[in-house]
């Protein structure tokens, strides 16, 4: 029990440290936010869609912006640990190393969710659609959780590579496709006013992806990081 508490404390401390570094440097969330807003602006002005088409595209646009922004955040998260080899410092801590995975995944999840929440009013304004639905927030939480879980795992895989900035999106986007499809379909259904019962297969898929990537982090993170 004592060691489990220590495990949880390590997760919390890694999250807290990431927040502290972000607060001090402001190099992660603001960049992610600006980038996702730019994607929204560019699509809005480039496509000049009719209101009917806009409504059907909102969910897709939300998730494309989030996926791109989150990948930037994941890259920033890796470079933070690469800088001065700080990751070694985390690996020296006397707890199971999956705690490092959960700590990093929790920070990545929180930063991307913050960006998503900031994006909702902007998308509502540009695409004239109310995005403030509780079920949509639930889908965002599940989708971002699965995406950042997978991203954290893959960022650990690419950390030793010289081409990690390019390697991460190349690995991440194809593997994250099922998550993005499920998230877009569930979001689109919610925005179209479909009952949640009709969307449960997509929501369960997102839930399963969260469980799967958490389990993968628990089992493989240490092996991935040890050279």
């Amino acid at each position: 029990m004592k060691s489990f508490l220590q495990y949880l404390k390590v997760i919390w401390q890694i999250f807290r440290k990431d927040f502290q570094v972000e607060w001090r440097g402001k190099q992660g969330v603001p960049v992610m936010l600006v980038f996702s807003l730019l994607v929204v602006f560019l699509f809005n002005f480039a496509l000049q869609l009719s209101p009917t088409l806009q409504a059907s595209l909102t969910a897709g646009l939300l998730w494309v912006s989030l996926a791109f922004a989150s990948t930037l955040g994941l890259n920033r998260s890796i470079s933070l640990e690469r800088e001065s080899n700080a990751l070694d410092g985390l690996l020296l801590v006397p707890v199971d190393r999956s705690a490092v995975f959960f700590g990093k995944a929790l920070s990545n999840f929180t930063f991307t969710t913050l960006v998503a929440l900031a994006l909702l009013p902007v998308l509502s304004l540009f695409y004239q659609q109310n995005l403030f639905h509780l079920p949509l927030v639930l889908v965002i939480v599940l989708g971002v959780g699965a995406y950042t879980g997978l991203g954290t795992l893959l960022s650990a895989l690419s950390i030793q590579s010289r081409t990690r900035d390019v390697l991460l999106p190349i690995l991440l986007y194809p593997l994250a496709l099922p998550i993005l499809i499920a998230a877009v379909e569930a979001s689109r259904g919610i925005l179209a006013g479909q009952p949640l019962g009709d969307l449960k297969s997509w929501i369960f898929l997102l839930l399963a992806a969260n469980i799967l990537f958490s389990a993968a982090g628990l089992m493989f993170f240490e092996t991935i990081l040890e050279e």
Partner: protein, 242 residues
């Protein structure tokens, strides 16, 4: 200097048996064995690329060996993550977050090691390496010497019994090197084992109790520092590097 050692169930002893590490099928360490006992301060020498860093990273559990066994105080290092509490490691890089201050970085590590009252511990650690006037500055503003001193404070924060240093003098100015000398002399005491890798050990030989020569992936000689003249090849190697 306020750092102390905490009590240990048994006297520290490091046993490395038949360690093998290959990178891309090339053996870096090949059936390496070495035993260090309580109070040893051993300098690990060897040419560039001999595998000194690999050995220390394996001992710090940062790299997994292909074969072999490492025992700390009779317990297998690979079996128990909790044994990492006994290890202090200083590598080539300082392992800090550059945007955080010296105090914030050490607080982070103290919390990771679950100290109930980290403030006092961190304050003492910063003081012990003479960085109190700079404790509120971001690490990014520190010189190499100051970062190395802070690394020592980090590595000693949890009072480890096994200390592994990888070329700690690299990039240090004279003043920082003297501070490190003093710290090593202080740390060299019963209840602790120090293994320090150095390409050119120089004056360290006066402080160390033993020297181990890493050649062809093995420890070819492991002798008391006072016995170096008895091994002409080693003496010649050390003079060559000096």
């Amino acid at each position: 200097m306020t750092m102390s050692t905490k009590s240990l169930d048994s006297a520290p002893q490091l046993v490395i048996r038949d360690l093998v590490k290959r990178y891309h099928f090339q053996p870096v360490l090949n059936q390496l064995s070495l035993t260090l006992t309580d109070g040893d301060f051993c300098i690990l020498v060897g040419a560039n690329g001999a595998g000194k860093t690999t050995l220390l990273r394996i001992l710090a559990t940062l790299v997994r060996p292909n074969q072999g066994e490492i025992l700390l105080g009779g317990r297998s290092l690979t079996q128990s993550p909790a044994l990492r509490r006994e290890i202090g490691y200083i590598g080539h890089q300082p392992m800090f977050y550059n945007d955080l201050t010296a105090l914030e970085n050490l607080h982070h590590y103290a919390r990771l090691y679950a100290y109930p009252h980290p403030a006092e511990l961190v304050r003492d650690a910063v003081q012990s390496v003479g960085l109190t006037p700079h404790q509120h500055k971001p690490v990014r503003t520190f010189s190499r010497g100051m970062q190395q001193r802070l690394s020592i404070a980090r590595a000693l924060l949890h009072h480890p019994h096994y200390l592994f240093f990888d070329e700690p003098y690299t990039g240090l100015d004279t003043e920082a090197a003297q501070i490190l000398d003093a710290q090593l002399q202080y740390l060299h005491q019963p209840g602790r084992i120090i293994l320090l890798a150095a390409h050119q050990p120089g004056r360290l030989l006066r402080m160390a109790s033993h020297i181990a020569w890493l050649q062809d992936g093995k420890i070819s000689h492991h002798i008391p520092a006072a016995s170096i003249p008895e091994v002409p090849a080693l003496q010649a190697y050390l003079q060559e590097g000096a």
